[in-house]
Subunit: 241 residues, 4 copies
DNA sequence: GATGAATGAGCCTTCATTCAT
DNA sequence: GATGAATGAAGGCTCATTCAT
C-alpha cells in the first residue's frame, strides 16, 4: 500500500522530460525514427521508449507488444530496449507507472486549479477524466490492455493501487461535502462509488465501441447522472452557475 | 509452408495404454480432468473445451491462454483443440460467441419473466447483470480479457455487436417508457447510455479490485443511480412496490 | 518470401477446410466420394485408395500427401486408410508398385502387339511411353514426385529397379538388332541409353513446363532423334513403311 | 494466431557460455559447423545457410528438409534461419534462385569462352551441363527435389522460367545456325528441343540410378545424338577438329 | 468392416534475451 | 552508448497412428 515514491518520483521527471523533449511532433509512426537524435540523455531515451510502448500496446494489444515493435516505433535498435529496461517486464511495469503518474497529476492539477466549492471541485475531477491530453484513443487503449490482462493485475495493484485509493477517497469526500451542503437524502459513499464506476465504464465504452466514442457524449452522460444526484448543484450541462 | 512428411514411429505401443491408466490424478487443478470420459459427443467436447478456455483466460489472461494450457485444464491433449476448432483463433471466437449467447439469453429470460411494467422490466435487466450464473469472477475476468485485448476487438464486434445493439435499444426503450410514465424532465437516451456505462463499469470494477467486489455492492450503486433518475419508480433498494 | 500476418487470411481458409471436413458431403472434387458404395471388395478398396493417392500426390506433391486428403479424395473415412495399408509408408510403397506394374504392362502389351521387325518393336516401345492411359498429367506428376523425393529412392529401387533393368535391356537389344540390320556405324548401347534418357527427359519436361506439354510434340522430338540414328528405318514421323 | 507473451527466464546464465566453449566438435557432418565464426556478415551467412539447405535437401529430400536440420548442417541455431530468410518458404525460394543463378552463369561463361563457330558454341553449352562444379550428386539431387515437388512448381517458374527460356532460345538459335551451315535436312527447333530434353533426362538419370551415373557416360550419349544430327560437325567424341 | 474422436511427436514461427563488435 | 547477429524456449499447427464404438 506504500505509494512507492521512488518509482513515482522517477516517473514524474520522465513526464516533464517528455514534454520538454517533444520537439519531434505528430506523425503516427515513423517520423520519430527519422528525427531521433543520435544521443539522448538516459532519461529522454527511457521516455521515448515508454511512449512507443504505449503506442504499440494500443495498436497491437498486450499480447503482441514485442520489444522489436517498440524499438521500431521509437526508431531505435532492437537491443537498446533491454539496455535501458533490463527486461520486458521492467518496460511494461514502468510504462504502467508512467501512465498512472500522468493520470494522477492530471486530476490533482485540475483540483488545484478549481474553485474552492465542493461541487466545483467534483466537476473539475469529472472533467479531468475527459481532458484531451489524457483521454486519447491511444491512452485509453493502453489502459484497457493493462486492465484486461490478468497477468498485469499484480503490477497494476503495485503501481496504481495507492493512486486509486487516493482518487476514490477524494471523490467520496467531495460527495460527502456536497451531500451535506445540499441536504440530499442519499448515501454519499454509494454515490461516490457510482460515479467512479461510471467514469471507468465510460473509458471502457470509448474503447470498445466500433466508432470512437465522443468525449463530449461520455461527459454528458456523467453530468446527467450527477445532476440527478445533486440537482441543486448540477444540471445536464454540468456545474450550475 | 509445411513440407512435413512423417512416416511415423510404431514403437511404444503398450506403454501408452499403461500410462493413461496410471496417470489419472496428475492434474492439480480441475476436477474436469478426472471426469472426462474417453470419448464424448462432438458438442459436449466443444463445450468442455470452451469452458476450459474461459477458465484459463480468467486465470492467465489473454496473452497466456495457450492451447496446451486449455487442453491441460480440460484433461485432454492439445491436438484435440485443433481437431474441434480448427485453430486457436476459432476456439477464441467460439468462446466469445458462447459467452455472448449466454449473456443474451440471461437478460432475455429475465425480461420474459418480469412483470409487464417498464420499471419492473428495467429492474429485471439490471438485476440480470448481477445474477450469480453470469456474474462469476471467472466469467468477468474472461470478458475483460476480450475487452482489453486490441487484437480481439474485431472478433468482439463480429460476435457481440448485434447483441449489444439489441441490449442497448431495449434498455433505451424502457427508459423512454418510464420517462414518459413518470413525466421526468430528462433525456431517456442519455439515461440509457448512463446506465449501460455504469453496468459495464461495475463489471470492470469487480475485476480490477484487489478484493473481489461484492455483487450486492455493485447492484446497490446502480440502484442508487436509477433511483435518482426515476424517483417515483425506484428507491435505493430497487423497484418500489 | 511472405512476411506473413499471422492473424490474417489463411485462418479463414483453415476454418473452411475444417467445416468441409465436418460437413461431409459438399465435396467439390470427386464424384468418387458420392458414388463410393458402402462395401467393396478388399482389392477394389485398395485400388480406390491408391488411385486417390496418385491424384493427391500429383496435386499436392509428395510432402503434402496426407492420409486425410487421400481419404477425402476417395470419399472414405480417415481411419480406413490405415486399416487397408497399415501405414502411410505402406500406402506409398504400394502406390509406386502399382504405377510400376501399370507401366510395365503397358509397354509389354505394346511389344506383344507389335509386328516382329525390330524397328516396329522399337517404335511400339517408344509410342507406349506416350499412350494416353499412361501419359496423363496426373500420372506424370506422381512419377516425378517419386523421382524427386530422396527418401523415396530406396523404395523406388525396390519396386522399379527390376522393371527398369528389363526395360533397358529390351531397348538395348532392339537397338542392337536394328543396328546390325541397317549396318549403322554406331554403338547400339550408347543409342539405347540415349533413347531412354530422352524418354525420361520428355516425361520430366511435360511436367515442368508451365503449359502442359503436348504428347505429340514430345513424341516428334524422339522420332527425330531415332530417325537420325536409324535413317533407313525411321523418319521424322516414325517408322518408315 | 499467437498471443504469446514470454517474460523470459533469466536463469542459466553462465552455463551457456561454458557449453558453447566446450561443445565444439559434436557435429559429425559438416566442416562448416566447426569453422563457423561467431558472427558473420549478412551475405556470408545467407550463402552458408543456402549451401546447407542444398546439402540437406539432397540428402533428405524436399519433404524432410526441416529448418532444424538445415541449421544443424550449418552448425547454427534454427532461429537464425528465420532471422535471415523470414520463413522457410523464403529460404527455399532463395535456394532455388541461387541454384538457378549458378547454373545460368555456368553456361553463359562457357559460351563466352567458346570459339565463335556455332558448333563449338553448342558443344560448349552441352559440356557446361556436365561440368564438375555444377554436376555434383548434391546439386543434381537438389534440382530433382525442386522438379519433383508439386508445391515447388510455382516457385520454380518464378525463379527459373526466364532463365530456361533464355537457355532454350540460345540452344535453338545455335541449332538453326549449324543446320544452315551444314545444309542438314532437319527441323532445328525439333532438334533443339530434343537436345534439351536429353540433357534434362541425363541429369535425372544421374540421380535415379542406384550407382552414381558417370558424368562421362552421360556426355557420350548426348554426343552420340548430336553426331547423328550433325555428322559434319560432331562425332561420337564431340566436336570435330 | 467402417467411423471419427483422441493422442502426441515434430514442424515452423515468434520473440525475449544475450553478446560481440 | 548503440547495433544487430545469434540463441533457444515456447507456442500454434499438422498429421500419422491408435482405438472405442
Amino acid at each position: 500500500m506504500a505509494p512507492r515514491d521512488r518509482i513515482g518520483g522517477r516517473v514524474k521527471d520522465r513526464i516533464r522530460q517528455h514534454r520538454r523533449e517533444v520537439a519531434h511532433m505528430d506523425d503516427d509512426r515513423g517520423g520519430a525514427a527519422a528525427k531521433a537524435p543520435r544521443k539522448l540523455s538516459r532519461e529522454a531515451r527511457r521516455v521515448q521508449l515508454i511512449e512507443s510502448t504505449i503506442e504499440v500496446m494500443a495498436r497491437n494489444g498486450y499480447a503482441r507488444t514485442t520489444l522489436t515493435e517498440v524499438a521500431r516505433q521509437a526508431g531505435l535498435s532492437h537491443g537498446l530496449v533491454n539496455f535501458h529496461f533490463a527486461s520486458k517486464e521492467g518496460l511494461l511495469a514502468e510504462t504502467l507507472a508512467y501512465l498512472a503518474e500522468e493520470y494522477r497529476r492530471n486530476w490533482e492539477t485540475a483540483l488545484a486549479r478549481a474553485p474552492a466549492s465542493p461541487a466545483a471541485r467534483l466537476d473539475a475531477m469529472i472533467r479531468a477524466d475527459f481532458e484531451p491530453s489524457i483521454c486519447t484513443p491511444t491512452r485509453l487503449s493502453a489502459w484497457c490492455s493493462f486492465w484486461g490482462e490478468a497477468q498485469a493485475r499484480p503490477v497494476y495493484q503495485e503501481n496504481c493501487g495507492a493512486n486509486d485509493d487516493l482518487y476514490n477517497s477524494t471523490l467520496e469526500q467531495l460527495c460527502r461535502e456536497i451531500t451535506a451542503e445540499g441536504g440530499y437524502p442519499v448515501d454519499p459513499v454509494l454515490i461516490g462509488r457510482g460515479l467512479r464506476v461510471m467514469l471507468e465504464g465510460a473509458w471502457l465504452e470509448m474503447m470498445t465501441m466500433s466508432r470512437p466514442y465522443e468525449r463530449e457524449v461520455g461527459l454528458r452522460a456523467i453530468h446527467a447522472c450527477v445532476a440527478a444526484f445533486f440537482p441543486k448543484h448540477f444540471d445536464a450541462d454540468g456545474l450550475i452557475g
